[in-house]
Amino acid sequence: MAIIINLDVMMARRKISLGDLALKVGITNANLSILKTGKAKAIRLETLNAICEALNCQPGDILEYAPEDPSSAP
């Protein structure tokens, strides 16, 4: 998929562990791990909101669009 999750980068910048973030966001470690490893198929706005709040960042800091075919980039 062309969407890249940069959650691990933001977590490293904020120096927060997976467990602590999961606790702050209110989701399980397993679900946060699914998101972190890029296995998630969808993300709820509610979850994104909670992550942005916990990490004090913008959605764009976590989500990045990188086209598989670079010629199709806007």
Binding site: I27, L35, A40, K41, A42
Partner: protein, 164 residues
């Protein structure tokens, strides 16, 4: 009453299916032995062998249906029925139904005993029908459609599980 999960209707069903599978296998081999050891069978050799072939094919298909139902029941007991394996099982059950139906139809076409075909007869022994093949044919079609529906349900579940 609990329909699925531990100590539920599915658990009872599993027990019945296991018993049926074991009994069915016993009866299958017993009838096979009785048929091949009878002189009557060897006297009608070309047709007898064909009918025995249908018996073996149909019997194995029925055994496979029971086995696949058992696998589905196991997932019901584990409270996790939406698995790709169940989709495969349902598809196999549908194909097995078609095999049994085909055995009935071919037997019906080549067996002279079916000269007096009866859709429905009622006598002192009960209600009888010669359209078993239709039952299996329709069941097969329905289960095949159900397997497609199940396949979609599995995809939805996977998507839901991976939505954070």
């Amino acid at each position: 009453m609990k329909l699925y999960g531990k100590m539920s209707l599915a658990t009872a069903l599993k027990l019945v299916l296991s018993l049926l599978l074991v009994t069915g296998m016993g009866v299958f081999f017993y009838i096979f032995y009785r048929v091949v050891s009878s002189e009557y069978f060897w006297a009608y050799m070309p047709q007898g062998a064909l009918l025995l072939g249908f018996y073996i094919t149909g019997g194995l298909a029925l055994g496979h249906i029971l086995y696949r139902f058992l696998r589905i029941t196991n997932t019901l007991i584990d409270s996790n029925p939406f698995t790709p394996d169940n989709v495969k099982s349902l598809r196999w059950i549908a194909y097995d139904c078609f095999i049994v139906s085909a055995c009935y139809i071919i037997n019906f076409l080549i067996n002279p005993a079916y000269g007096h075909f009866e859709i429905l007869t009622i006598d002192i022994k009960g209600i009888h029908t010669d359209v078993e093949y239709l039952i299996f044919l329709f069941a097969g079609c329905f289960i095949l459609i159900l397997s497609k529906v199940f396949e979609q349900a599995v995809a939805f579940k996977e998507e839901n599980d991976l939505t954070v």
